[in-house]
Amino acid sequence: MSRDMHSVEGIARVVGVDGATAWLEPEQTGGCGSCASANSCGAGTSQGGIGTVANRIAARRFTLDNISDLHVGERVVVGVAERALVSAALTAYGLPLATALTAGGIADSYRGGDFATMAAMAGGLITGLLLARLVARRLSMRGELAPRFLRRAPVNPPPKSPCGDLPPGGQKHLGRPGVFPGETCGGSTT
């Protein structure tokens, strides 16, 4: 992903066209599956199966209005508003947490028992998730969560490491400004 003036960009591949609608699949550019051992641990994007990255990417397919005459196999740059990612995360995670903690705090101050607090927090969490659903629907109706087509990307990109271009010998440049040699550009978590 790269930063435009007001949007977060990502690359997606057209996997289907149905009249005026195109189906796209986001390309995995970072996170688990981008390291050299991806194919041996099952996180590689080329492998299918339950729980693999390939499977998760397939689950994240989305549609675009095919106003740009997209064809299957084309790579396109799509973008969402820069603040959409944070507002989506706040809606999905922040709102349920806030209601759960508030409900738990109120229950603890009135009843004081662990079981009552736990029940109140569970209720608060469910209420928060229902509220998040309403807010997400509003955001979706405003079109803030939908990716927009920005431009076409190169069909056959040069081979890339997760963090940047590979030099001719296949070795990463040590000391290239802005690129951290040896890192996976994100995602491996321990």
């Binding site: 996170g31 969490l125 998040a132 997400a136 040699p181 321990t190």
Partner: protein
């Protein structure tokens, strides 16, 4: 009330999960290339840590302690965390498919984040009440998110900086992380947890 506030300050700033306990370092280095992705990852991790710690507390008190199964704690907690992540993923997908498309990529990464398990194990050591353990977990994960966003901001500036070739890449990132940890040491003594 004062005890809860001190507990939360201690968990978030003094004994920060990343900079003081050295947990979640891979995501600290890996997902902090941009502020917005770091914030998204931080919020997702906050949610999972808090929800899984609630479940871990219940499992610890009503199952492991009750039946004297303490030796199964680590395995059980890993199972609870994986279930919490799966539950979160399914719930977000059900609540809003659009949100899932935008945020779903972070969730599988959290399953193997050692900060989640680390916080759960710290809760057991603390012998806290349910509300205290939940607030401790929430504050710990807020501290994690705070450091992730700060470090992402620093790395966005580092990209534009003229770094000597010898230090470019991970070395300068680790030096910056060290300086950040030293800055957080300034909070020592405010509160303990």
């Amino acid at each position: 009330m004062r005890d809860f506030v001190l507990l939360m300050i201690g968990a978030a700033l003094v004994n920060n999960v990343i900079l003081a306990r050295f947990l979640g370092l891979c995501s600290f280095m890996g997902v902090t290339t941009r502020i917005d992705t770091a914030a998204g990852m931080g919020l997702a991790t906050t949610f999972v840590i808090t929800v899984s710690s609630m479940a871990d507390w219940a499992v610890q008190h009503y199952l492991l302690d009750a039946y004297n199964l303490g030796y199964l704690r680590t395995v059980t907690f890993i199972l609870v965390i994986a279930s919490a992540v799966q539950f979160t993923e399914m719930t977000i997908k059900k609540v809003s498919p659009e949100l899932f498309q935008m945020l779903g990529i972070y969730l599988p990464l959290i399953t193997t984040n050692c900060a989640v398990l680390g916080v759960a194990l710290l809760l057991v050591e603390g012998h806290m009440s349910f509300i205290a353990s939940t607030l401790f977990a929430f504050a710990s994960s807020v501290g994690y998110s705070l450091v992730m966003v700060i470090f992402a901001g620093l790395r966005e500036r580092l990209v534009l900086a003229q770094v000597p070739r010898l230090f470019a890449g991970p070395p300068i990132a680790f030096i910056v992380a060290g300086l950040l940890a030293m800055a957080f040491m300034g909070f020592s003594g405010i509160a303990t947890s």
